[in-house]
Symmetry: C2
Subunit: 264 residues, 2 copies
């Protein structure tokens, strides 16, 4: 199958403009099977008030943004994972949604909120779901989640073949160095779709990346241009957890020893 | 404090030669406070029979090798973490020992045995101890342990400031790329002391590395020369787990969500 990303500069607070931009960029990708879009790409990121963030959010049910993703998935017969500023009654969540040709499938809500996101969003409360879309199993993380090794591990142990990682990264290059390491230690594919551009005091760092279960970088975008990429991957490589003929990375784990209490 | 490594080519099955070589190399380091030596550097690595591995091993009590490390620690007033082919009655362990100016302190036994090590050594059975040596807290991992993110995390959560990582790495450069990522995600210092040279069909990859809690590489050795390095570090940087003013990497963890079972 072919997996890819859209790297873009969302327009703050303008869902219609973001839908238009995504539509235009996604047409570049062509025959991909899975496309990952950046964090909060329906709304932009750097809201200065809860009110402005709220105005730019939508509920999953009835979302114009998700409806458009559904149309694109149907038109191109692929799946999309996209960042989504999600309203749920009086709360906002920094969410990633999974959509396919048959419509909306499911969501993940960011577990680890970064800096001022803590003023705008409620922390994730749906755990770390893994979705079987037939060709592969998909897990999702969002941006700053990358620095918590637990979440990559939990998704891999639950059977995720591809971890889709919508992002609005601001620390130059650090996550992009970590992604291939999380990929190789968990033997999964990772697609980090980052955004570019500035919003007020923040500069987003691009360098969107696709890494494979051996820690190789299959594709990496520029730091400052809107662009897309898609690469052919063999999902069976994510299901082979053997680091050597005698080392299965999951079976070799020693949880009983990790938890051993040592007497001084 | 100053932390460093010895990168060397041990002589297979010749403890006396290895003691001599370590003594000579360690005199280069001068005023370090903590020196890390490679995996199994008392004995070499690539034993073809259990008998030859057994002959090159020592029990901790009565070990000539550890006695010599104790003398060096006393002479230079520093601590050493060293790989150690350890005999315990009729078993061998791939062990790391911590020795200080006051003598032997404690040990770690490799939890994840690599390839044919499974024929020679018993798997580790002392968990993941952390030792407080006054100036800092020390955890130990050995070589292939690097690919299991759990062990870095457990040591960091137990308070390790420095993770000492005696190694005999054979996969070119992969662990050395991962070490700064494990360092930054856990906000610890890491010292990977690797060996060089060949033993039969194996080539060891050198590139010993010291990484800091921000993921920076403070020192890296060549791939093929015996050498030493030591760098001044500020241990308080390993005790500051704040990634931002509002993101404490341990307090922000969401273990209740990591374990959430999702209803389909």
């Amino acid at each position: 199958m072919k997996i890819g990303f859209v790297q873009m500069r969302p327009v703050l607070g303008d869902t219609a403009a973001n839908i238009k931009k995504i539509t235009s960029l996604i047409e570049d990708i062509g025959d991909a099977d899975l496309v990952v879009l950046p964090e909060l790409c329906n709304s932009g990121y750097n809201f200065k008030t809860g009110e402005s963030a709220f105005k730019a959010a939508e509920e999953v049910n009835g979302s114009q943004f998700i409806r458009r993703l559904e149309e694109l998935c149907k038109q191109f017969n692929f799946h999309i994972v996209s960042g989504f500023n999600e309203r749920d009654n009086d709360r906002l969540y920094n969410t990633a949604v999974l959509v396919g040709p048959g419509g909306y499938i499911g969501k993940y809500r960011k577990l680890h909120l970064f800096l001022n996101e803590k003023d705008l969003f409620a922390p994730g409360d749906v755990g770390l779901p893994v979705f079987d879309i037939g060709t592969c199993k998909i897990g999702m993380l969002i941006c700053f989640d990358w620095i918590f090794p637990e979440v990559w591990r939990v998704l891999a142990l639950k059977g995720a073949d591809i971890i889709c990682h919508p992002s609005n990264l601001v620390i130059p290059g650090l996550c992009q160095r970590a992604v291939p390491i999380h990929a190789v230690t968990n033997r999964v594919f990772v697609v980090t779709a980052n955004r570019i551009g500035d919003e007020d005091d923040l500069t987003f760092t691009g360098l969107s990346i696709i890494a494979d279960p051996r820690g190789e970088v299959l594709s990496q975008a520029s730091s400052d241009r809107e662009e897309t990429a898609a690469v052919e991957v063999d999902i069976s490589k994510a299901r082979d957890k053997n680091a050597t003929a005698r080392n299965h990375l999951f079976d070799d784990r020693r949880p009983e020893e990790y938890n051993r209490i040592n007497k001084k």
